[in-house]
């Protein structure tokens, strides 16, 4: 038996023509792109992710953030306290409170003393909080892509996550966007 795969007819019909060179911004062949894998849920890692992603968007770049593992918890809605179905998922949420305002430090956490001191210093020196940066990032079009596998493992539903999150995806999507980007970071 021979298996013939025919070229779908629609593929040619819907092909979008290359944009006119004259219409593109001067000196740039195409929009530059930054991809960040946000793996950690720690304050000292999520903060720079939000600083870099909002700055990339402000610099006219396309920026996509693939949000996975512990990195997903800061993107849970404020009113959600306990998430998941399994008692262990609930325990995880209890041990690491979800939401953008409840990040811990990876070092010198000291039962919340470290993050509290960071908050005092942040306000004293007028540094934007993770919440302010997240608002700026989403307003400027940074795309946050939640990891479907992490959502399943942590028992997170789409409606548990902030509305600005994009469609859930997996590792193959992360690999594809990382290899296509001009720069990719794992934080």
């Amino acid at each position: 038996m021979t298996l013939t795969i025919e070229q779908p007819v629609e593929a040619a019909a819907v092909r979008v023509p290359e944009p006119e060179v004259a219409l593109q911004p001067e000196g740039a062949a195409r929009t530059k792109e930054l991809v960040i894998v946000n793996w950690s849920g720690d304050l000292d890692k999520v903060w720079p992710v939000l600083i870099l992603s909002s700055t990339a968007a402000a610099s006219g770049m396309r920026c996509r953030v693939f949000v996975t593992f512990w990195g997903l918890l800061p993107f849970v809605k404020d009113q959600k306290r306990i998430v998941g179905e399994h008692w262990m998922q609930k325990m995880l949420a209890l041990m690491q409170r979800p939401g953008i305002d409840h990040l811990k430090l990876s070092k010198m956490n000291f039962l919340g003393m470290g993050p509290w001191m960071m908050g005092v210093l942040r306000r004293k020196y007028n540094v934007a909080s993770p919440r302010e940066l997240l608002e700026a990032a989403t307003a400027m079009g940074v795309e946050f892509i939640p990891c479907q596998m992490t959502m399943d493992m942590f028992g997170l539903k789409r409606e548990d996550l902030i509305d600005e999150m994009g469609e859930p995806a997996g590792a193959a999507t992360a690999i594809e966007i990382m290899t296509e980007a001009d720069a990719s970071l794992f934080i």
């Binding site: 911004p25 001067e26 000196g27 740039a28 600083i51 909002s54 700055t55 968007a57 402000a58 610099s59 006219g60 770049m61 020196y125 007028n126 540094v127 934007a128 302010e132 940066l133 700026a136 307003a139 400027m140």
Partner: protein
Amino acid sequence: MTLQILQQVDARGLSCPMPIVKTAQAIKAIPSGSLIEVLATDKGSVNDFAAWSRTTGNELVEQSVDDGVYRFVLRRK
């Protein structure tokens, strides 16, 4: 020649990256070729506005400092 500044951003007191983020949001509101003025106190903004100008192609036409306040004038691409 007088330069017409169409938009101002007061980023005094704000830290990185907010002066850049606020400027990027404000520059969208003015037409191509017109000017925007930014005031900032963040010392890092001197290097950052130069870098942002190179990355985005919005020309940094004027730069000065007065009593710790940096002033940048940029022309929208």
